[in-house]
């Protein structure tokens, strides 16, 4: 008996699950990835002749909750126009009833693979660039709630993109009240989304262990705000600096104390002890990079002296060299 190869099986599975895009402006090109509630397909927009990514719900959804989450994700993305957030182009329902949305196709690598060849300042700079779109989202009343290295993509030119806003919490009432997004679904058919209903109720746990905040792990959705994302960013920062996920036992050398303090403050179990905003955390990272004191760590006199020496190393060496030269001249002139 001859067995089918894994590759053939995958191809067959992909062709079976390929969404019916016949009545849309898209043509499926390639299966890209599968997430918790759907699959992402590389497709071609036949009108504009460009490559796009289609996120299509393809798992059984008896309660309609996943469809609601996908709709909500599209709605959130539509309200977040920022270079660090993947833009959504279109959204709707396919003829077979599956919900989808169309977004920019991002060619790049995940944070995990990108940081392999980076040094400490580059990683800290990366953390600051991750903070920018997050701060923007927070200013719009949106909390991501599923930040993790796998949801951060680095584009071909080093641009940072935050993906997967399916668990986002919307605190802005104007977005919550939005309804009926028109889409390029079946012509003449009503394909708009219903009101973006909340996807998490109190007591329900959604997120990624290790990167989700304690209040999220408890399912306390009411307590979650932008500081829940700050917790996740702290966990991501720790991951970037140590290469280990928060669940792993640390085996690498300990972090410099100020950086450890930044991670600890961001990941404080008590929400009120965390940074009040992403900008505050980003400012601490900037200050560390500039060699000035940070708000999360109170340094001793010796540490302060060492930091100043490190910061002004060249100037100190030049002045010492000058003094040494003068002393040598004096000594030789007396011979």
């Amino acid at each position: 008996m001859k067995w089918l190869s894994d590759e053939t099986l995958t191809r067959l599975q992909a062709s079976v699950q390929c969404p019916d895009l016949s009545s849309t402006r898209y043509r499926a090109l390639k299966f890209v990835a599968r997430g918790g509630m759907g699959a992402v397909w590389l497709a071609e927009d036949v009108v504009l002749h460009r490559r796009v990514a289609l996120k299509v719900l393809d798992v059984e959804d008896r309660t309609g909750e996943l469809a609601s989450r996908l709709e909500r994700e599209a709605l959130v993305l539509a309200h977040l126009e920022h270079p660090g957030i993947v833009p959504v182009h279109d959204a709707g329902t396919l003829p077979d009833g599956r919900v989808f949305y169309c977004m920019k196709y991002v060619e790049g690598q995940t944070l995990e693979s990108y940081i392999v060849n980076t040094n400490l300042p580059q990683r800290l700079g990366l953390a600051q660039r991750i903070a920018e779109p997050l701060a923007f989202a927070h200013s719009k009343g949106i909390v991501h709630r599923d930040l993790k290295p796998g949801n951060i993509m680095i584009g071909a030119f080093g641009e940072v993109l935050i993906m997967d806003w399916g668990l986002a919490k919307i605190t802005n009432s104007t977005i919550q009240e939005s309804s009926h997004i028109t889409s390029a679904g079946t012509p003449g058919e009503q394909t708009g989304f219903a009101t973006a209903a909340p996807i998490t109720s109190h007591g329900k746990i959604l997120g990624t262990p290790g990167y989700m905040s304690p209040e999220q792990a408890r399912g306390d959705s009411a307590a979650m705000d932008e500081r829940s994302d700050i917790f996740s960013l702290g966990a991501i920062l720790r991951f970037m600096l140590t290469g280990q996920s928060p669940e792993e036992t640390p085996t690498t050398a300990p972090l410099p104390k100020p950086l450890n303090a930044i991670c600890q403050k961001a990941m404080a179990p008590e929400i009120s002890e965390r940074y009040a905003s992403i900008q505050e955390m980003s400012a601490d990272i900037s200050q560390y990079l500039e060699g000035v004191p940070i708000s999360a760590y109170r340094e001793g006199i010796v540490e302060r002296g060492m930091r100043l020496l490190e910061r002004h190393r060249v100037a100190v060496v030049l002045v010492l060299a000058y003094i040494a030269m003068r002393v040598l001249f004096i000594l030789f002139s007396h011979r």
Binding site: A315, L318, Y322, R326, F329, I330
Partner: protein, 116 residues
């Protein structure tokens, strides 16, 4: 502190220090006031030139090269007037120029930024 002012202050301080070291040479100790004044003026002139350059050219490497050149050139003039001691005069002079060149580029604030 703006780049020209930083150059002047640093040039003056290092010039005073440079001049005071003459106290350790008994032959010229009685002329120390003149030496300190001359050395300070030399430091200030170097500081003005190097600070002005730092304001025009925003480059650490070029700042160091220019500072070193100015320091060596001014020290060379002094050595010519002294009819000798080239090494003893030009080496410290060059180092002062180098330090001022580095400091103005690294720590001096651009006057444009200050206006903002």
């Amino acid at each position: 502190m703006n780049k020209v002012l930083l150059g002047i202050v640093l040039g003056a301080v290092l010039g005073i220090f440079d001049g005071l070291t003459a106290w350790f040479t008994p032959e010229v100790r009685n002329q120390i006031v003149g030496i300190v004044i001359g050395s300070t003026v030399k430091g200030i002139i170097a500081g003005v030139l190097i600070g002005w350059f730092a304001r025009k050219v925003n480059s650490l490497a070029w700042g160091i090269v220019f500072g070193l050149s100015v320091g060596l050139f001014l020290a060379f003039i002094i050595a010519q007037l002294q009819h000798g001691h080239y090494f003893a005069i030009m080496l410290p002079g060059g180092m002062v120029g180098l330090i001022v060149g580095y400091a103005t580029q690294r720590y001096g604030v651009s006057s444009k930024l200050q206006r903002v």
